[in-house]
């Protein structure tokens, strides 16, 4: 029996060793991103290299889209790429470690989806070109921010936020949504202010805007609770719906990834009868599962604001221009650009997003970033392209839900 156990143990170790060797060999031969470099761009006199994408997600529609985009455009432009995973809580040391461990001599650019440790990364690798994605980079663009020194670094090209960078704009947008929908009783839930300070500003703005509206309104709107319910990086507690004030809500505003943090307990509470069956969710972000998608529009998720993932084009354009030594002639200073929302407020729009966009399936043949767009805005193709035009394009309806009608 003992001998049998020893043999089993050795056999298991051998199998694991075999699997390991195989996976290493497979991994080495296909490497993340799969692009071999060299590219197929029209201009053969180009500089290649590897671009790192420091992602803050490792699955879901946004991740899938980013991979599809990087697959297509790094190959098109003659780069390779690799995804590195930043610290799950944006810890500066964790992010720096992630970049350091993935650093090889051919790395020329870095797209960062979170800002922790940015100043250390850029100090460690001063030649690296860096640009932000889906993040307002408050630590860079606030006076006492930990990474404020990065804002003026000529190798940092700014960031495109995941929606409005300013919480006040977000608050006004959501207050107007509530007023337009005719809701009379709403609650606000949000991710913690210490992690997302702009959400606290948005919450305050919603309350001020609705208070102003109530001064002349025939039917005033009630925003329950004095402050938003804070979700500490976990879903809304089911006991939320046991409180009398929360049982007959018309809507919950989720200043967070609401499909992940509010939808499950809300739908459960509706099913069990503890919440008003007509309570709607107005929130941000998009999960890809079919049941969630089916509930967007006229279902529980009444209005969904999705920062358009296709704005990763901003990062690719800024990096490519810099790497090729052809940055826009009128580009002078990094900045944070507002991200354009894909506003899903009906079944028809949801259907358009499902069928006509790459946002849920990573199908780049449906992307608004076409070869023509690249020809127009990348200076390797169009030396006369300007940052002003590019900026205008990035802020335009080309990235809204209208693009996929």
């Amino acid at each position: 029996m003992k001998k049998f156990r020893n043999v089993t143990k050795k056999a298991t170790a051998a199998v694991f060793a075999g699997v390991l060797a195989l996976s290493v060999l497979t991994g080495c031969s296909t490497a993340d991103g799969g692009s071999s470099g060299g590219g197929s761009g029209e201009d053969t006199n180009t500089v290649g290299g590897k671009i790192l994408l420091m992602s803050n997600v490792s699955s879901g529609p946004m991740y899938d889209y980013n991979i599809a985009f990087m697959d297509k455009w790094t190959e098109e432009l003659g780069y390779t790429y690799e995804v590195v995973y930043g610290d799950s809580a944006n810890d500066p040391a964790g992010n720096l470690n992630a970049v350091k461990n993935a650093m090889t001599s051919d790395v020329v650019g870095l797209i960062v989806m979170q800002d922790g440790g940015l100043v250390d990364i850029m100090t460690e690798y001063p030649e690296l070109y860096v640009v932000g994605l889906g993040n307002d980079m408050l630590s860079v663009y606030s006076d006492d921010g930990a990474n404020a020194a990065v804002a003026d670094n000529d190798h940092f090209f700014g960031t495109v936020a995941g929606g409005y960078a300013n919480g006040e704009d977000t608050g006004k947008m959501l207050a107007q949504t509530i007023i337009d929908a005719g809701y009379e009783k709403v609650a606000v839930c949000m991710s913690p202010a210490f992690a997302y300070p702009q959400y606290a500003v948005a919450d305050q703005t919603i309350r001020e805007e609705i208070a102003a509206y109530n001064e002349t309104a025939e039917t005033p709107i009630e925003v329950v609770d004095d402050e938003a319910t804070v979700l500490m990086f976990k879903p809304l507690d089911a006991t939320f719906f046991n409180e009398p004030a929360h049982q007959d809500l018309d809507a919950i505003i989720g200043l967070c990834a609401g499909q992940q943090f509010i939808y499950p307990p809300l739908s459960s509470a509706i099913a069990s009868g503890t919440a008003n069956p007509d309570t709607k969710l107005i929130t941000f972000g998009m999960e890809g599962s079919s049941d969630l998608v089916a509930d967007v529009g006229t279902g529980i998720v009444q209005q969904l604001y999705v920062p358009n993932y296709e704005e990763i084009f901003f990062c690719m354009a800024m990096l490519d221009n810099a790497i090729q030594g052809k940055q826009y002639s009128d580009y002078t200073q990094s900045e944070v650009l507002d991200g354009v929302y894909v506003h899903i407020s009906s079944d028809e729009i949801m259907s358009n997003i499902e069928n006509n966009s790459p946002l849920l399936n990573g199908d780049m043949s449906k992307s608004i970033i076409t070869d023509e767009v690249a020809q127009k805005y990348l200076t390797r193709y169009n030396p006369d392209a300007t940052y002003a035009e590019f900026r205008e394009f990035m802020l335009s309806d080309a990235f809204s839900e209208k693009a996929y009608e």
Partner: protein, 328 residues
Amino acid sequence: MEETKKKSVPLKEWWRKNGAAAASYGGLIFCIILFSIVTPLRGESIWSPAKLATLMSDVIVTALMSVGAVFIYSLGNLDISIGKQIGLYATIMVFVGNLTGSLIPGILICLVLSVVIAVVNGASGPLLNIIPIIPSVVVMQVLSGIITVVFSTLGTRSITLRTIDYSVFKSPVLMFVVLAIEVAVTAFLFNYTRVGKYARMLGANKVAAGQSGVSLLKFRVLCYIIAGICFVVAAVFQMGYTGSASDSTGTGFEMNIMVALILGGMPISGGMRSRVSAAVVGAFTFSILDVGLPMIGLPTRMTFIVKAVIFLIVVLMTSRKKEGTLPK
């Protein structure tokens, strides 16, 4: 035939006694040789100054913590509050550093705090007659709560040193010197003083040690205090890496320690085969995989799987317990 059988007995005996150490050293040497040969084929070198610096910065915190944790593991105990201890110490160092303009007061506060936590973690088990991991779970949750409250109050997820120059902590030479000193001191304590000997004795057989007159409470607490001091040293380098601390600093470090120690051939149930070198060998193996695997072209997402499989292989190769589970 008879002679061959006789010769194989000492070899088996040697492997029984030293198999875990041989496998762990062998693993590290294998990794070094592999990466030394393969990385140049891809135009990289693991021996380049930049990569050596990366390796040192990757290894330092895990190694410093693991060396201290040897004293706890040798007792047959686990401490899962280590990560949160590091997080709290780093936060205190940055916060007090910004208030006073010096890191010294913060480090002193952390040393005092580490002794308090060590007493709680080390003494409450025997005093309350509960298994040792329970107090560390409680401490972890308390520290986690304190960290959350601190950062909520500060209104941010991370704090940064404003006026203090922390670049010295990025020096690979300093890292190496500090690690060497810590290893030398702890190896001396572990191998040549009663603290280390009794710690192993308690891990091997608590009842027999008690019957021999060894004070369980006293030596357990001493072991936790030594480990706590090592954790403060590790926290200095963790904080000094980016001059910052965040609400997630230290998260999961206790698992890194466990993996490093087992990769280094440390028996998870403690006892007489415990050794300080396991911490260093394991931490270097763990980090050289972190640094080397991407250099041979392995995608980052696959490094986690490869490390896990290597971990399993080491456990299977070194497991000699009768029940066939973890190494004893």
